[in-house]
Homo-oligomer: 246 residues x 2
Amino acid sequence: MTETNPPSPAQDRPPARPAVVLLSGGLDSATTLAIARHEGFACHALSFDYGQRHRVELEAARRVGAHQGVAAHHWVKIDLRAFGQSALTADIPVPKDRAQAEMGRDIPVTYVPARNTIFLAYALALAEVQGASDIYLGVNAVDYSGYPDCRPQYIEAFGRMANLATRAGVEGRALKIHTPLISLSKTAIIERGLELGVDYGLTHSCYDPIPDAGRPLGARPCTRCDACLLRQQAFAALGQRDPLLQ
Amino acid sequence: MTETNPPSPAQDRPPARPAVVLLSGGLDSATTLAIARHEGFACHALSFDYGQRHRVELEAARRVGAHQGVAAHHWVKIDLRAFGQSALTADIPVPKDRAQAEMGRDIPVTYVPARNTIFLAYALALAEVQGASDIYLGVNAVDYSGYPDCRPQYIEAFGRMANLATRAGVEGRALKIHTPLISLSKTAIIERGLELGVDYGLTHSCYDPIPDAGRPLGARPCTRCDACLLRQQAFAALGQRDPLLQ
């Protein structure tokens, strides 16, 4: 089933509990936000400006958050460029036209050291301040097994640590890291997002976007990096066309 | 035994392996740095500008690092003020003249949510980039049991998570979080630091320093906050006078 309208607000629920949702403006985090909302949370989106080469990602995060009606959107500027070593933050060429079998084999050059640990650490701080016991993260271990910090055993270990790190743990409130996409294929992720009314035309996935002043985000996808290829294949498998390519 | 001179460099060792040492400029981190050096590491100091009310802390970190001859001193600016809720980053009065029994009872107002998790996450990123398998952190669970993220079980859980988070873990290099002070009293910490040549006159501990243009750091300790009281008691127990009070 595919619903293209956002779900209407529930009238018969108690006031929503807060959750922190990490929102990059990509396809996965946009879907994760929709799932967190669907599960009844008042969502505090948390986005990072970490010296991305592509500011388009930040604009996409802003639009996705606004479209989905987040309770608040928190922005944190962090400097991973000081640590170098990644195609997403430094000037290393992005691989193009790779077959899917090549993508998950090694840790990709687009890997940012300890990125999810840094992002989740800030999410933990925000959760504590907002009195939230739930953090949502759109990691996926299926299409991108090359990232060590996207694996279920990493997320479980972070959750155990988080429950020892903060007041919540000391006071007996269990803190939960939700990763609703972790075992879904890209196709299943998009299918779920379309059901929940995600507008994928607002999202951004490309590792190497081409400037295009005629587009709302000021750029169009390269269509050839790993992220573009996975996205195209997933929309094709659903018999849909990616709204970014229309 | 008390040595007040820094130890001379070892002549008969292999080239030192790198370690990341979190350095706040306080008494504990200055001692931890000296221990890491004594254990043979080339130390990459990592210091944070996280919207401290007291810039004196950053200057102390710089002086301690320079005095102890770190291999490199890395600085990261992070914005915890966005998360509010702590006397160290917001405008909440610092408690004064408390008896030691009062100090460890509750989570103190000087607690910064998830601070050590955020700091260790950056240390993990730096360790990965530098090829370091060792991270030193000067947490202490004896005098300040009120901070949840200073407890041994938290550090152990962070270490388990860290070994799943990064290339090091995937490639079978074990990453270790060293907390050499965790079970030492403040007195034992200072005793060890004096043996290793730490100059405590360069360090800064006070939560509420008083501006004083005549001092090298531009301020003097209040002598009444928890940090000042613990420090005074520890120097007194050793029959020493705190060089900051001379």
